[in-house]
Symmetry: C2
Subunit: 406 residues, 2 copies
């Protein structure tokens, strides 16, 4: 049977066709007025997408490059920093801060759980310069309470910068960057913005820019101060990834359309979209009798699922791929074989979600020997969730007061 | 929520990405060795796809253009012809043959039914020059028995040409063109070959080419003898639709991949694919308690469904479009409002099929008030069909005799 390859991975995510075509058409030089106009437009759109009054910078790198930029520009060797870690990407903050000579305090949560605010509070020292955390830890499918951590920092009187990896969180999770006191927010292109890997973006608060003044780490490619100076002229410090930037512009246009022409509303709609896909998936998985790996604080970026006892999750990943060309991800590192992950970041709709649940039912029927299994049960649970989530939207369409008067 | 537009229409059908890219890249002139090489390759592939030893010709026109070519090249004014009609496309044969001055005998079946062979036999006269029919009548979702009609013509000793519109039948329905005595077979680009509209193709048997010698109809653009002469040199008579031909080559390559590198096997796999999608859809529709419009001879090209009593089928078409961006078609002409049609032609897979059934369940829940409706029932019926159809394929993979011996 025909099998169309479909990514259900937490990055890369499915590509937006309009962005693919913009990318293919981007045959322009980067030191020209045409490129400067594109670059300034996209940087402006990113500010709205991120939801910050601060400048957003674009880097030709993966998300990890922007994570490194945050460390190398905002810390100095010997600085005391606090890393909050609950998975592979938390561990990356630890590795990065150590690589740049920080003294690292670590608060970790077991894989599948989020961080206890009391532990974070306890670990905070007067000399802590920065706190590093993920908005969503896509290796385990968990969401961290950035608002709570920001509040805790504010209440404690700490001057530590709050540095948030929002690579899979932006566009899948509500993030009030400026309102919650996030000093650095980091995103990547192959995530909710629906384009291929190769671009990272980040923004720094005023406090963060001040910290950059005193940082003593060596850096060149990721020199954010230089990048900002150039960005203000519509330039990048080094050759920018032109085609990806054109694609990003097209994708942000598409996201604005989802918000009726308003990019911030479109970003919020994208978050709600991910939440609906995630809620459908969670209901389906539980109807199958499978357990969620992160039930207490599930992220809408990706749903991590435990296979039945005695089954390697790789079997499910492999069957979904070989029978349906549906690409979901295994656990990473020590979680390999122990979970599988279905992502909801970016360009997924109701039909994609029903389809992956259908395929999962087929794999369950053929390979999982689940007690009480019957075709349609997981699908029915997802259908019910979708019907409930879409029903209120209709009743909200009450006559608008102004029109009713007219 | 995000809604990706998805066509479930009996043409245009979903585009193959590889064909889209080939189309975008086709910046070549048509009177060059590069184009001739492409054209000859595609014409050769089409012979295999159609399944005939005869030459296949390509025309820059819609399928109707090739239907006209069959009439204008193979009949003369005053010729007695037999038109077999069971829907809008059968009626098109009637209109075309009349437009070119034929004396038309008509055998019609009610919409939703196929033709009774006894009626066809009765209508055949010694002087009948040609019989015109559809392989599948996509306006009603019915399949006609081309093999039976071919056999009937052979047994009757009739010299009438059998002229078959296979526009939606090719690639969705088994058609042994040469073996069944089909003299003319006609296809279109926006169907099972997964590319946009704009190309038609057809092949003529030796008997049909002989008839073309004596035809007295005026024709110029659709002069098939001239087209054949040029095709043999790798040329088209008039400017060919270059980009679509490049797309067609890429699509036929893809279909060959579906057959493990064998285009005929790929075509057969495509037919089986459509049959699986159609069988899943029929089971789902019946599980909803809805009635098929063509239950006695359902086509795998499209499934036509009757809405519940008192419901305009346009409501279902509209809801699927507005809520899910899933485009299905209403009935045509007098069937408008009385049926809706879900197509299975070309690039549809299991996941597309589950997804449209899921969307149909949502519309049923919100709009159809079906007795005993519950989420998951239609999906479960489709799941069962898919599981049954995919299970035997596994057991067929028994050790091959040759390998077992080695």
């Amino acid at each position: 049977m025909i099998r169309k390859t479909r990514l259900f991975t937490p990055g890369p995510t499915p590509l937006l066709p309009a962005a693919q075509f913009a990318m293919a058409a981007a045959d322009i030089h980067h030191r020209t007025p045409e490129f400067r106009a594109l670059y300034e437009r996209v940087l402006g759109q990113l500010k709205t997408f991120v939801g910050t009054k601060n400048d957003v910078l674009l880097l030709a790198s993966s998300g990890t490059g922007a994570m490194e930029a945050a460390v190398s520009n905002l810390t100095s060797p010997g600085d005391r920093v606090l890393v909050l870690s609950a998975g592979k990407f938390g561990e990356r903050w630890e590795a990065l801060t150590k690589a740049f000579g920080c003294q690292v305090d670590l608060v970790s949560a077991p894989y599948g759980e989020t961080l206890a605010p009391s532990e974070v509070k306890k670990a905070l020292r007067p000399e802590t310069k920065a706190v590093f955390v993920q908005a969503t830890e896509s290796s385990t499918g968990v969401r961290h309470d950035i608002q709570g951590i920001g509040r805790l920092l504010g209440e404690s009187g700490s001057e530590a910068l709050l540095i948030v990896d929002g690579i899979t969180g932006l566009g899948t999770t509500k993030l009030d960057v400026d309102g919650w006191g996030v000093d650095v927010i980091i995103g990547g292109s192959q995530k909710a913005v629906m384009i291929p890997p190769g671009l990272a973006y980040l923004s720094l608060s005023e406090r963060a820019w001040k910290a950059a003044e005193t940082s003593k780490n060596p850096r060149y490619y990721f020199d954010l101060k230089k990048e900002l100076k150039n960005a203000k002229k519509g330039e990048s410090s080094y050759t920018p990834a032109v085609a990806l930037i054109a694609a990003l512009g097209a994708a942000l246009d598409y996201i604005a359309v989802q918000g009726g022409g308003d990019l911030a509303a479109g970003r919020d709609a994208l978050v709600e979209n991910a939440e609906t896909c995630a809620a459908m998936t969670r209901a389906a998985v539980e109807a199958l009798g499978l357990k969620l790996f992160a039930p207490s604080a599930p992220s809408a970026a990706a749903t991590a699922v435990l296979p039945p006892a005695g089954v390697d999750s790789g079997v499910i990943v492999k069957e979904l791929k070989s029978r349906f060309a549906a690409i979901v991800t295994n656990g990473q590192g020590e979680m390999k074989g122990r979970i599988f992950r279905i992502a909801h970041i970016g360009l997924f709709d109701y039909m994609d979600t029903i389809a992956i649940i259908g395929a999962l039912e087929q794999v369950a029927a053929a390979n999982l020997n689940l007690p009480g299994f019957a075709f349609g049960q997981a699908l029915a649970a997802a259908q019910q969730v979708f019907a409930e989530r879409s029903a209120p939207a209709k009743t909200e369409k009450a006559p608008e007061p102004e029109l009713a008067k007219a």
